[in-house]
Structure formats: structure tokens, C-alpha cells
Amino acid sequence: MEALNLNPTTTPKSCLPKTYFLKAPLLPCTFKPKFSPHNCQIHRRSFKKTPFSLTTACKLKTPQDNKKNNTKSNKIAKQIILSEGEPPPLAEESGGAGGSEEAPAKLGSGSGVMGLVKRLPRRILSVLSYLPLAIGEMFAIAGLMALGTFIDQGEAPDFYFDKYPESNPVLGIFTWRWVLTLGFDHMFTSPIFLALLALLGASLMACTYTTQIPLVKVARRWNFLQSSEAINKQEFSESLPRASIQDLGVVLMGAGYEVFLKGPSLYAFRGLAGRFAPIGVHLAMLLIMVGGTLSATGSFKGTVTVPQGLNFVIGDVMGPIGFLSKPTEAFNTEVHVNRFYMTYYDSGEVSQFYTDLSLLDLEGKEVLRKTISVNNPLRYGGITIYQTDWSISALQVLKDNEGPFNLAVAPLKINGDKKLYGTFLPVGDVNSPDVKGISMLARDLQSIVLYDQEGKFAGIRRPSSKLPIEIDGTKVVIVDAIGSSGLDLKTDPGVPVVYAGFGALMLTTCISFLSHSQIWAIQDGTAVIVGGKTNRAKGEFPEEMNRLLDRVPELVNSSLSRQSDSIVG
């Protein structure tokens, strides 16, 4: 029989591999043929597995089942959308959460205490992994977050009394009582929001455990479909007259499929990673949640405004955020601001802020020196120092060549966001009740505007120019403008965890885009019946299949009869 098939006139394209394939149903040999063009292998399924092991999985997707479920799904979907439409999305949600606890309780009362203990975890799992619940949680979280951006956060209670008065409630019901009792004035740390996040985390875990992992186990099995009806029921099906299933196998391998052959039936799949990845997405989300919790409970934060040339000790500035916050050795480090300066564009706008920092240990020895700027923080011993703000602390002024005097500068409140600083140089008798003098205003460290005793504009001087200006007989030289640097300090033990979660999330989301495609085929006499389905790229799949099936060579008559013989025999 092999000699027959080796005849080159019968199967001109791939005669050699074919002979090996045909051996498969006859001799259970473990010999795997290697194909040089693709260097991939055909796997043979062991005979131990029952052939119908997975027909149930395929049956799930039949149209009859869909119809049955339609009425139910309609209701669920409507509920969810309705709940989103109502102003306080919490009400139903807390109800839903309560329901999840009630359900197992009811069941327990029926079947005794032991039954309750045994069934409770499973019951909770199944409730948590119920997809509509998870979707409801996500909607509720999204709704709360949206609400959190509309309600001003972190104001004093008086603010909410004014903004949401009981006499004139927003949407008829929404007053400050809602805001304050539900904690919407600090939405993103409010118990309701955090509880919802925790519930979502629980749902994530439950779903991964009860739904995703079994799905992957199913997908990993090679299941052959034995009847052409089963294959025709697939989302894509096609019948190839005068073809051989081995040729199809080779073509599919060329397209990157893993191909398994058993007798007259073929199973091939591609993109299994696309099935695994959603698990990874869920785990990455959990990792981020864990990291976030760690950040919220174990951080230190501090803000300080230090004039150029002064010092501060890190531990004095930092305050703990959560109950897990533990100070470290590095908190004893002293920080010295060597210099604070800005660089400017030609148009006069600030281009960057720089602070030259020295870190000194307990003995006063410099351990680190770095110039930080926005986007370029300093990291030392788990502490990060950010450049976040600035102000002007003093002006150094020569008055009639005396001095230099340091004039303290005060921030002035004006309309708009731009900063403005001012100071005052008294002229004449300082002790008189109506002392007059020269006013100086500055928007940045670059130029100072001077006004005379009557408040009239006198001139502009740059600290760098050392150019004197004479106002009402007083000669003033502005020697320097001393800035102070606004620094944010923090330690955050959650960052490595969160970053790991970020990396995993990016990777797994990308992999999730891969489509898990499965193809079944069966040799039915001279024809090959091919069916397939895919879980994501449903639009492209038929096109791709048609392209692949076009490549399957059509057999001439003489070889066909022999082939079908050989398969039967």
C-alpha cells in the first residue's frame, strides 16, 4: 500500500509526508515526521481519550441554546442599563451586594448547618463570578467616579451646605446630606467606593477560578469531531470536493496552526495564548489593586517649601498615610538646598525649574548630590523628592550702597492663576505711623518691577544686571532674588507591585487581542468537510479560511479512489 502511494504520478505535491500520515491510523507508532519548509510537527492524538469528550463544549454555541437564553438575557441587560440611568447608582448596588449574601443564607436554612458550611463558599463563588453582577459593579464604579469628578472633592462641610442646599436640591433629591453621609466629599476614599472596588476584586478572583481556568482546560484538549453534521454546525463550514485531509493539514501548518490528525479527522488550533491572556489580565488587575492598597496603607508623604541655602530633615517633613507606614533609616537624612533656579524661553516663559540638592547623613557628610527638575526626581533609600512648586522668599537689595538688605517677599493674591510676589523698601523715617517707600513686584526670578512712593511705575530691573535705579533720590540696586523650592517627598512601598501589575496588564491585554481559532475537518469519501470557529477575529476568519482552503490542492481522479481505499483499509 505504501508503494502505491509513493508513486509520484498520483500525488505530485506532497507524496512523502502523505505516506507517513496514512500510517497513523494503521500503526500506532510514535514517529513524528519533520517538514523542512515550516519545521513544524504533526501531533498524533493518543487513542486512550474518548472521542466524544468535548462535544458538550461545542454544543453550548448552537443557535437553539441562544434562543432559549434570549429572554433571560434581555431582562438582565435592561436591569443594568436602568440602574445606570438613575442618579445615585449606589442604592441598587448595595442592594445587589446584600443579595449576594442573602442568597446563600436562604439555602443554608433549608439544608442545615453542615450543608451551609459546606455550600457557602461554593455558593458565594458562583454568585461572585456571575457576570452580570461584575458588570453591575463596573457600572457602579464608573458612575461613582463620574460623580466624584462633578462634586468638588475635599472641601469643608460649609461648602456643601452652600452648594447643595436642602431648599433647592439637585435633580429633586440630591442635597448635602447625601454628599456628607455617603462620603462623596472624598469619593475616592469613601467606604462605599472602596467596598465596591473590593467586591470587584473578589469577583475578579471568583471569575478567574470558576470560569476562566476551566475554559482554558477545555481549550487545551484536542477534540476531534467525528461527524460531518457537527462540523457543519460551526460558525464557518465548507466542503472541499476532491481533496485530502493531509493536504489541508500541511496548508494549516503553513499558516501557523497546530495540527492534530487521527484517522479521517483533523483538529487544528492557533492563538491559544489568546485564551490564557484574560486570566493574566485579571491577575494583573488584582496585582495593581494589591499595590494600590499597599500604597494607601504604607506610604509617607510630605510637602516643604525651602528657601535657597537652607536645610531640612526628611523625617520632620514626612507624615504617615496609613497604619502600615514605618519610618526608615533614611528619614534621618538632612537635605540642603544648594540652589534653586529657573530657565526661561526667549519669550520670557519659564521652561524648567531646577533645585540643586545635597543629602547629608547624621555626621554631616554628603551622601548624594543631584539637581532635580520637574520630571526628574531624586531617589534615595526609598524616598523620592519631586520638584513641584516654587516661590520667592527674599530680595537682596542695596540701598544707597548700604547693605545688602534681605527683604522678605510675600505672595500676593490676584485674580488668575499667575503667581505674584511683592515686597516693600521703606524710605525715610521707619518709625513714623505712615511710612512710605518703594514697592517691588515680581512674577518670577527674572525681573522685578519697581514703584515709587506715590505708587507710580518707576522701572524694571533684572537681578543679574546689577544696574542701579534711582527713585525719589534713593539709589536701589537689586542684587539677587532668592527663590524657594517647593518639594514633594514620599515613600511608596506599593510602587514596585503596581509597576509589575502595569507591565503584566499591558502585555496580557495585547495578547488578549490574539484570536483563538479552532478548525475541524473530516474526510468524507473524496471530499473534505472543514469547519471552524474563532473567538475574536470573527470578521477576518472566513476570509482567512477561504484563502487557506484555496491553497489545498485538488486531487486527480485516479489518486482519489486509492486514497479513500487506503483510509478505509
Partner: protein, 322 residues
């Protein structure tokens, strides 16, 4: 000076070409589809693509940083993304319904960007301290790409909804251009009319339902595919933004309004993807979620910037808010 002139020329060329392309689209809708015209509209989109690319490159060279620092530039980038999404199927020889969505979207963003509304912002030449980072390119380009992809996907879903809910459709007669100026579902309407036209030409009335079903399925699949792509971009964009925030603002998550809305967008499209995975939900439900997503993207993209709140208000940027 030469740069600004070049920029001006390119802006106007791209805008006028997109308008011509739209006109051609309308003509092919109203009159019989002329193959030559369809071809030229495709070529027009390619020319537009190169014009907008040129525009972005000139701005890049001229300013010395990636042109993504304010609303105007991000709008230009958005229309560039639309034209890229338009081009990909063209090169892969897929004939699909995306073009009916992407071309009008491109003209709207381009038109809005060049219109008088934002003229004062064209001249923004400086990069504020907080934006001087390599993350700018990664974060903003990913975000805008994801907006473009998600907008396309949710518009396809909107079209699906329009088609599904129009049980009693008025009979489309050639020359009845009233249909086209239907305000609310403009894109969906174009899509719908386009397809109706094809259906009318290709088939008899009896098989209409079959074609309608097929069209709905195709819209569904394409919107799913493009939304998943946009979702990837959105994920990468948000996460790179978080990493950047940890470098610049001292925390990877600040609950800043823009961040929050990006997260809301992410959540809504995550819901969409989950609804899709489950067979018990119909495609209508996912389409409704996707159309909600459409609104939310606009709030995220424009609403927050127009209000000028939070740390992301670079459109009206001032020193103190860095």
C-alpha cells in the same frame, strides 16, 4: 516663517481634500456608485494622510518637540489617527464599512481643529516644564490613537443600533438627500444609507432581511475588533500616563478629573468586552454600551479640557497648575 507657511498650506490642502472626499462619498450615495469616483476618494484619503503627516512633521521640526502638547495638536493627531485607521484596511485589501465612519470623522476633527474656535491656540510654541519628558510621546500618542479607534468602533455600534431599531424604514429613493442631513445619527445614517443603497442594487426585496442581518453582523464584528484594538491603546496610554505621573507629580494615580474619566472610559469598554464574551447577551446590549462609550470619550477628551480643571488642563495652561 517658512514652517508656518508650509503648515498653513498643508492644513488647507488636507482640509479641502477631505471635504472633496466627503462630497464624493455623498455623490456615490445619491447617484449610482461610480467605480472611478470611489477609487479617487480612496486616493484622496491617501493624499490627506500624507498632508496631515507632513503637517505634523513640520510642526515637529519647527517646534523641536512632538506636536502633542495642546488640544489643537492633539486634534490634528486625532484626524491623522482616523486617516491611519482608514488606510489599514485599504492596504490589506479588505473592503469594509470603516471608511464610511473614518472619513467623516477625519473631516470633523480636521475642520474643528482648523476652525476659528481654537485659533489662539495655534501659536502655542512652548513646552511647559511638566510636559518635558519622553513619556509625552508614548502617553499622548497612545491616548489619541485609542480615542480614534474607540470612536470608530462606537460609531459602528451606533450605526448598528440605528439599523436595528429602524423597523419601519422609509423607502429610500435616489435623490432624496433629506436622509443625509438627519441630525442625530449622522454617521450612522450615512452608513445605513450606503448599505441600503448597496442592498437595493444587489438584491431583490425578498432577500433584504438576510442582507440586513449580515450587515448587522459585520458591523458588530468590526466594531468589536476595532474597539479591542482601541482598548489595548487605551490601556497602554493610561498605564504609561500613570508611570509618567509617578515621575512628574509624585504619585501614579491622583484621581485627577482627566485620569478619572480615562479610567471611566476604560471601565465602560471593559464592560463592552465582557458583554461580548458572554453568549447570553445580545449584540444590541454591547452596542448600547459602546454608544455610551462614545459620549464618555468626548467628555474625557473635551469636557475635562474645556472645564480647565485638574492637572491636565494644558489647553489653558498656567504656571501654577504645573
Amino acid at each position: 516663517m517658512i514652517f508656518s507657511t508650509l503648515e498653513h498650506i498643508l492644513t488647507h490642502i488636507s482640509f479641502s481634500i477631505v471635504s472633496i472626499v466627503i462630497t464624493i462619498h455623498l455623490i456615490t450615495l445619491l447617484v449610482d456608485e461610480i467605480v472611478g469616483l470611489y477609487d479617487s476618494s480612496e486616493k484622496g484619503m491617501i493624499v490627506t494622510f500624507f498632508c496631515i503627516t507632513g503637517l505634523l512633521v513640520t510642526r515637529w521640526v519647527c517646534l523641536g518637540h512632538l506636536p502633542l502638547s495642546d488640544l489643537y495638536e492633539s486634534l490634528i493627531f486625532l484626524s491623522w489617527s482616523f486617516s491611519i485607521i482608514h488606510m489599514i484596511p485599504y492596504f490589506k485589501k479588505h473592503k469594509n464599512h470603516l471608511s464610511a465612519i473614518t472619513a467623516p470623522s477625519a473631516i470633523f476633527t480636521q475642520g474643528f481643529a482648523t476652525s476659528g474656535l481654537l485659533t489662539e491656540m495655534h501659536q502655542s510654541e512652548i513646552l511647559v516644564p511638566a510636559l518635558q519628558s519622553h513619556w509625552l510621546m508614548m502617553h499622548v500618542s497612545m491616548m489619541v490613537l485609542s480615542y480614534a479607534a474607540l470612536l470608530c468602533g462606537s460609531l459602528l455600534s451606533l450605526a448598528l443600533l440605528v439599523i436595528t431599531f429602524r423597523k419601519f424604514r422609509r423607502i429610500f429613493s435616489k435623490g432624496n438627500n433629506l436622509v443625509l442631513v438627519n441630525e442625530s445619527f449622522y454617521f450612522g445614517e450615512i452608513q445605513y444609507v450606503n448599505e441600503r443603497n448597496n442592498v437595493l442594487r444587489n438584491t431583490s426585496i425578498s432577500s433584504q432581511n438576510y442582507y440586513r442581518y449580515q450587515l448587522i453582523q459585520q458591523l458588530d464584528r468590526w466594531s468589536y475588533r476595532i474597539i479591542s484594538l482601541g482598548f489595548i491603546f487605551l490601556t497602554v496610554g493610561i498605564l504609561s500616563g500613570a508611570v509618567w505621573a509617578n515621575e512628574a507629580w509624585g504619585s501614579y494615580w491622583n484621581w485627577d478629573p482627566k485620569e478619572t474619566w480615562a479610567f471611566i472610559t476604560w471601565t465602560v469598554f471593559a464592560i463592552y468586552l465582557h458583554i461580548r464574551t458572554n453568549k447570553i447577551f445580545e449584540s444590541i446590549n454591547s452596542a448600547i454600551v459602546a454608544s455610551m462609550g462614545f459620549l464618555i470619550i468626548w467628555i474625557c477628551y473635551f469636557g475635562v479640557n474645556l472645564l480647565g480643571i485638574g492637572l491636565h488642563s494644558y489647553g489653558s495652561f498656567t504656571l501654577t497648575s504645573y
